[in-house]
Amino acid sequence: MTTTQTSTDMICGIIREELGLPEGAVAPSTTIRDLPELQSVQYLRIIAKIERRFDVELEDDLVFGIATIEDLGRAVDGLRAETSSLEGPR
């Protein structure tokens, strides 16, 4: 990423925005599914937003497992690294 914001920070932002939570309400170590009153529809909307924002497709194990925000950030970085290594003259 060229910005100083990490993927994990951006995912925190996406979650706060989707759930209408204040700054500091979620942290990298937060397990998304443990967030109070999170409904499964909201959860899938969060995942879809992350995938669209980073143009990746996350593994089912991660999507349907128990992941922290940091886990998702790491997965996103890994997938983006794979893609960028292939970019070049076509």
């Binding site: 995938e51 143009d55 990746v56 497709e57 089912d60 794979e82 893609t83 290594s85 292939l86 076509r90």
Partner: protein, 294 residues
């Protein structure tokens, strides 16, 4: 390094080929001159696509190559992997017509020698390349290809589930996979005919190794690999016509083929007769297209 299928059968490695792997080559390592004497100039050894009643074999094969390119959503410069590239019909077509960078996989050293010569003749050596390796042992980075094709070749590859999982990994997001092959008409037919003499003749004597499954099994493997299914085409009647054309060409060139390899024509005739009797009764030819997307 040895790859193990779900059935526990070793399928060998490039440096230490196992018996099934060598067996698969026993058909494809046959002198290419024989194939040239019954196929058309594309050297495409799979089902054509007949659009008019009087289409020639060559027209049908060129139409089929265009169909594959369309189904794969090929764009100018797309990066394509052809799994089981044979004598290069799809490699050369995509490089020539769509300026693609194409990598072919084959296990046949005879085909590699043929490909090298043909690429040089066509002036396409900079666009096409090949590796003597099976897909599950190929070491391309994840997301390397815009499109992946299996044109009548997955039948020779064990463990379709693992095969398509690997294809999913090598495919970029929103990239496509095209797979056409012979399949059992349904599961009960498979149970009844898997051990039949005609099946054994084709699998063991003609091709050396193969594993035919049903369409539903392929679809399950695509789903389990997390692909979305994009299209399904029934090509059964097209394959019967293709085989009729091959058979007629072989009749015409019988003497020349026999002079290269005595006894070869009768063997091929029996093979053509067996598969053309089976279409629609025990076997089908389907093309499946899947996309790596949600």
């Amino acid at each position: 390094m040895s790859a193990i299928s779900t059935t526990g059968q070793s399928i060998g490695s490039p440096t230490n080929p196992s018996p099934p792997r060598l067996a698969t080559n026993h058909h494809y390592d046959v002198d290419p001159r024989i194939f040239e004497l019954f196929m058309d100039s594309t050297m495409k050894y799979s089902c054509g696509l007949y659009l008019r009643p009087d289409d020639t074999l060559e027209q049908a094969q060129r139409q089929k190559l265009a169909f594959i390119a369309e189904q794969l959503d090929i764009k100018r410069g797309s990066r394509v992997l052809d799994v089981g590239c044979g004598w290069g019909s799809l490699l050369f077509y995509l490089a020539e017509h769509h300026d693609c960078e194409v990598v072919g996989l084959t296990l046949s050293p005879v085909q590699v020698a043929y490909l090298e010569k043909k690429a040089a003749q066509l002036g396409l050596s900079h666009k096409v390349s090949w590796q003597l390796v099976q897909l599950v042992e190929a070491t391309f980075p994840a997301g390397s290809f815009d499109a992946i094709a299996f044109v009548g070749t997955s039948v020779h590859m064990p463990d379709k589930r693992r095969l398509l999982a690997h294809a999913h990994k090598l495919c970029r997001l929103r990239g496509r996979v095209y797979l056409s092959d012979s399949m059992y008409r349904c599961e009960s037919i498979r149970e009844r005919f898997e051990l039949a003499p005609g099946t054994a003749f084709l699998r063991d004597e003609v091709f050396g190794w193969g594993e035919v499954v049903t369409l539903s099994e392929y679809i399950r493997c695509f789903e389990d690999a997390r692909f979305s299914l994009t299209s399904l085409t029934d090509l059964t009647a097209h394959f019967a016509r293709t085989v009729d054309h091959w058979r007629a060409n072989m009749m015409k060139n019988r003497e020349e083929i026999e002079s290269i390899s005595p006894g070869m024509t009768d063997r091929f005739f029996r093979y053509f007769e067996t598969i053309n009797a089976a279409w629609g009764y025990t076997s089908k030819q389907y093309a499946i297209v899947a996309t790596k997307q949600r």
